[in-house]
Subunit: 209 residues, 2 copies
């Protein structure tokens, strides 16, 4: 994993949820050779991370895994069915409305490509991201969290998505969004999850890297 | 809604689920002026469609609404909790792994833009879509449906996403995916949902359009 992606890999979301829920778990790291291997594809049809196994249940997609974990604990899920349904709505919003424009901008900025094409595309991508951030900021006005004004898996997922913009100051330009991100990232479960994702990168870094 | 998007608007997914579940519902169409209005934003924070109201519950995001409806009926949801969790995983896969590259290609092809930039970008976008379609095709090898080989909300969502490629022959190039799409679209509930989405476009079309 290149340095620009360390701390953003999507297993962070699952680690964070497991830490919030206080569940025991074991991690198994994979290498590039696993991503194409049939035995890993049986767990994760697209060769991505994360994949999740619990007894006979095999899950993939960070949204589905986090929702599965969240349902176990009131720390991550409102107690009533309306709150739970709205939590899932905000999880889908994070992953299907907010993440796609953010991911497009991050890929343009962080991956190699035709510099002329990048320069032409970037202003429109930035505007698209700003529009979504402004809408999200409006939603959070006067609130600390997205659902019932209490931390839930919706905030976990939204924070993980906002972090993809860390190479820019787009979140910092919106004070209540920046405060929201910092509030969520200050949780001990997030700090533990982030440290656990980062540790193997440091251990396996080439000398001098 | 321009003709290229008619039959693809995301309320189709919700109509389809409601028809499969056999639930009574009323539709309320909105216009461009509603999308920015505070009273609509209270239902749908991003001004998009669909939004869903049921007694005191307000939901948005097609993924969350379809899951909420699907939980009511065994027609759309496997009976056991493992099957239900895997159904949600495939719904997230449809919306977070498959749809983003498909949506990027559709926007490049169907929206105006710099033709030189488009020509430079298109081959890579097509390759990205083909990769995901090949992985999905592999998953469906020997199966008619994604979860427990029975129709579920996962297939509903995946079919709705594959339809975004209808201006290309990318799905048709993969025979088992094309057969899958046609199998799901042949369901009476889909046909009813599609006809219901299309009817107001015909009624409100400008003369001669």
């Amino acid at each position: 994993v290149p340095p620009f992606a360390q701390g953003l890999v999507r297993d962070l979301r699952v680690r964070w949820a497991l830490e919030e829920a206080g569940l025991d778990y074991e991690e198994r790291l994979i290498g590039p050779e696993d991503q194409g291997a049939a035995c890993y594809r049986a767990l994760q049809p697209f060769g991505q991370v994360p994949a999740f196994q619990e007894d006979g249940l095999f899950l993939f997609e960070s949204g589905a895994i986090v929702f599965h974990i969240a349902e176990r604990t009131e720390i991550l899920t409102p107690r009533n069915s309306e709150g739970r349904a709205r939590m899932l709505a905000w999880m889908f919003a994070a992953l299907n409305t907010i993440e796609p424009p953010i991911q497009n901008l991050a890929e343009l900025d962080l991956f190699p490509g035709d510099e002329e094409v990048k320069a032409k595309r970037r202003p429109e991508l930035v505007e698209g991201v700003k529009k979504r951030l402004a809408e999200l900021s409006g939603e959070l006005e006067g609130c600390e969290y997205l659902v019932e004004n209490r931390f839930s898996a919706a905030d976990l997922m939204m924070t993980a998505v906002l972090r993809i913009l860390r190479h820019t100051d787009l979140v910092a330009q919106t004070p209540n969004l920046e405060a929201y991100r910092l509030r969520c990232e200050a949780r001990p479960a997030f700090q533990k999850a982030l440290a656990d994702q980062m540790a193997p990168f440091a251990e396996n870094a080439p000398d001098g890297a």
